[in-house]
């Protein structure tokens, strides 16, 4: 009979401690100034993950404190108060002007500072908290090109003529990345109809940790609400993630349902254009799918 091996945890603890000490000494010896810089900032190299966790917690706490304020105080003390009387056209124009001064001239990845500034501009304009990184998850691009997608089959037997206009884009022969929205036509609710209507495709397949954290990420992204902004005209729509793509070779970074593209004004010409796509943090402030037509703090 084979005897099972048992781990000598006490001896292993000593060995792993030794690995950590040796690697730390090597780092300090080779890069003393860099280690000293980090230590002055209150971080030891080996504990960078703890520091990252504290940053995430601080950010969550700041959001919680914001929402913990009385509503009236939030409205009157926030910069968005000045937008409360604006029409939707004025809000869109104001946002487009702000974004023009923040975004790079060429559609390219944003810096953390640019993303933060855009979050603030969106919050001021629409009263919606939209962030490039949510719960430590982020896409490879928060600013990129979106292209037109087709309708998705919502249930077995679904066909194009059962969808609302616009229909000229057609319906995909296959399913979206998360399958049917409902197991049958009878089980298709209004909520699910809205999910298909306002869906986007994002490049989950190119996430660096997609394969290693597949199960978690698959569930995390399914119907995840995102805010999509056309920076040229300021038009903004709340969408949900319901498909994966487009492929890298297309040169596009996101896909939009016929309704999303039409609302953003991108269903013309090449049927693509630059957009900002941020995750919506709706922990305290749920927002419905579809066009954003008013300041949420109004």
């Amino acid at each position: 009979m084979m005897r099972k091996s048992v781990l000598d945890t006490s001896a292993l603890h000593k060995a792993l401690t030794r690995h950590a000490e040796i690697s730390e000494q090597k780092l300090k010896k080779r890069h003393p100034k860099a280690v000293s810089l980090l230590e002055k900032a209150g971080v030891s190299a080996g504990n960078i993950r703890d520091h990252a966790a504290k940053l995430a917690a601080t950010s969550a706490m700041a959001a919680a404190m914001l929402f913990a304020q009385p509503v009236a105080q939030q409205v009157f003390s926030s910069p968005s108060a000045k937008y409360a009387s604006f029409t939707v056209d004025q809000l869109q124009k104001t946002l487009a002007e702000q974004l023009e001064s923040i975004l790079p001239q060429i559609v390219s990845p944003l810096t953390p500072q640019q993303e933060q500034t855009i979050t603030t501009a969106i919050k001021d304009t629409w009263g919606i908290t939209a962030v490039a990184s949510l719960q430590n998850e982020r896409l490879n691009r928060s600013y990129g090109l979106i292209g037109a997608e087709q309708h998705l089959p919502r249930f077995p037997g679904d066909s194009l003529d059962q969808h609302d206009e616009p229909r000229q884009e057609g319906i995909t022969p296959g399913l979206g990345a998360w399958g049917y929205f409902a197991p049958s036509k009878e089980q298709l609710t209004q909520d699910l109809i809205e999910r298909e209507k306002w869906y986007v495709a994002v490049q989950t397949l190119y996430l660096p940790d997609w394969n290693t954290r597949f199960r978690y990420l698959r569930d995390w992204y399914q119907y995840r609400k995102v805010l999509v902004v056309n920076p040229v005209n300021g038009k903004t729509v709340v969408a949900d993630v319901a498909d994966a793509g487009p492929a890298d070779w297309t040169g596009k970074h996101f896909g939009g349902s016929p309704e999303v593209m039409a609302y953003l004004g991108l269903n013309v010409g090449m049927q693509k254009g630059p957009v900002i796509l941020f995750f919506i943090d709706e922990a305290e402030n749920p927002v419905p799918l579809g066009p954003v037509l008013y300041n949420g703090n109004k």
């Binding site: 945890t9 060995a15 780092l27 080779r30 890069h31 900032a41």
Partner: protein, 111 residues
């Protein structure tokens, strides 16, 4: 677990999977993972700082301290490092994991 921008190159799960083949008390397992994580961070920072020109160290460390998870850090490294930095990180992570896995193997005893 908070993310660091090079996590996808380390794949610490390979070590965790081997550890989890054994019955280890929860607090002990957490201590092991912490030590392994520390070792990998020391090693990966060593690779990065070795290849990154010294005059760029402060800029990198400032941004790393501000947002350790942000993918723009890898773009920054690619811009200033002459070697393929992702490969260099992968190689060092792989060597380090092999040493750790060897330690785990060496501390097995017949039950």
């Amino acid at each position: 677990m908070a993310k660091i921008f090079y996590d996808h190159l380390i794949i610490i799960e390979e070590v965790i999977a081997v550890l989890d083949e054994h019955t280890i008390p929860i607090n002990k397992r957490a201590e092991f993972l912490k030590l392994i994580d520390q070792t990998l961070h020391h090693e990966i920072l060593d690779v990065i700082l070795t290849h990154l020109p010294k005059e760029k160290h402060e800029m990198f460390l400032t941004q790393f301290h501000r947002a350790p998870h942000h993918p723009s850090l890898m773009s920054l490294l690619k811009e200033h490092v002459e070697v393929d930095i992702e490969k260099a990180i992968l190689r060092r992570a792989s060597t380090t994991k092999k040493k750790i896995l060897a330690s785990i193997k060496n501390h097995l005893k017949s039950g």
